[in-house]
Symmetry: D2
């Protein structure tokens, strides 16, 4: 496992909310990140699908990690997400890629798939801006 | 309490993920919704602030409820969110308003405030499209 | 007319594309901007309404000016727009407001109205991030 | 040239604003569209780059065409765009792809490149929702 992957896992482990949900960093390279989240009943909304907030959490976090792979410690500045299909199944997988990056920010895209016996089905697509954490205030 | 408020609370109660987080519908009228979420340590990210996924969840859900106040049972089709300040304190309050609506969809905006002894501080702003649940498939 | 208004008009006059379309800065204060664009037939799309690109241009530019009112010379980093109604009539009016700002960026919202004998009708809403032009590269 | 390509060119020719700018539909297949726009001085902003409104116009229109390739006559409902680099050179090329589609709407992404002697350089990325024009009101 690379130093970068270790760095990523350490950041994720330092996020109590990610521990509450159970997200895992399943791939992490310069310019991309993949996160997996096992779905539990307590993550659903009133129609039995994964709650949009869960899908958004995973997209947002995966965008941040993709940006962080080129910027270091980072936060999401903004993003937009389109839910394209109800998400259900055993797990969600998010894959994010850096589209462009500079010294202080990166623009990334993310696709979130619902994983079931039918395979991976696209559930949401997101695009956003990741900012390097500014230590100088 | 109005019938609409009852309808809104019933929908929220039917969302297991909202129960897990502890969100409350604190105001609900035709054209607007307010949700409150008490912050707990397990909702933070690596810098000790509320995780973006928590802020997004609340914005997304509050947008859906605002849209649902004019459309009936609804889902968020898409939204964008700008995080404008780290969110910390005792609670988050989201307030969403319908900007425009038709038979099948509504465009809404939402502001999320962090509540602490300093008062309410704007933490995020969101804008999105809410779609009426289409029973005809 | 204030120095700020003069500054804004100078910037707008320095934009050849704004001159091509004929946009005017009709109000400009710290934290807000208003732009007006007389509609001409050459600004329409295939259904006879103002082309989305025209509406977007005005929203984008008005967002930049609102941000620039607190940041100085600025550019739009990103924005999202929802078209809520076909835009037609004599003119478009865009009004943008700063929601939050720091040293280097501002988050702004903008509403675009179509002006006809029926009055002002909301045609689009936008939200975006404005960045101060970074002279240091 | 396919019937679809002819249909696309007819729609573009029916847009006076696209004629004013000089946009061309340079590729059009089921699920994707490419548009090219020769840059002229009158399309710039105060720093000499293509105005954001020009880049947005092209992204918006190309998103609509990509969506229209699967939906028929369509309009953009909403989109978001990130400008990732100042756009300058001889032309802009936008390429849009359908990510997901249903009966009434499609979610599409678009990349806009600036073309100069250096080749194609990514200038902006966009994501949005395209709606089929609803003849039934």
């Amino acid at each position: 496992m690379s130093d970068l992957f270790d760095f990523g896992k350490d950041i994720l482990n330092a996020q109590p909310f990610s521990a509450l949900l159970g997200a895992e960093l399943t791939a992490f390279e310069v310019g991309s990140a993949e996160m997996t989240l096992a779905l539990r009943d307590e993550m659903t909304q009133q129609h039995g699908f994964a709650h949009g907030g869960v899908v958004s959490y995973l997209a947002d976090n995966c965008l941040t990690f993709a940006g962080g792979s080129v910027l270091g410690d980072s936060v999401t500045s903004e993003y937009k997400i389109n839910y394209v299909r109800p998400a259900m199944g055993q797990a969600l997988i998010a894959r994010a890629t850096v589209l462009s990056s500079g010294r202080r920010q990166a623009v990334c895209e993310c696709k979130v798939f619902a994983v079931s016996e039918k395979g991976e089905i696209l559930a949401a697509v997101a695009q956003g801006t990741i900012n390097k954490v500014d230590k100088t205030g």
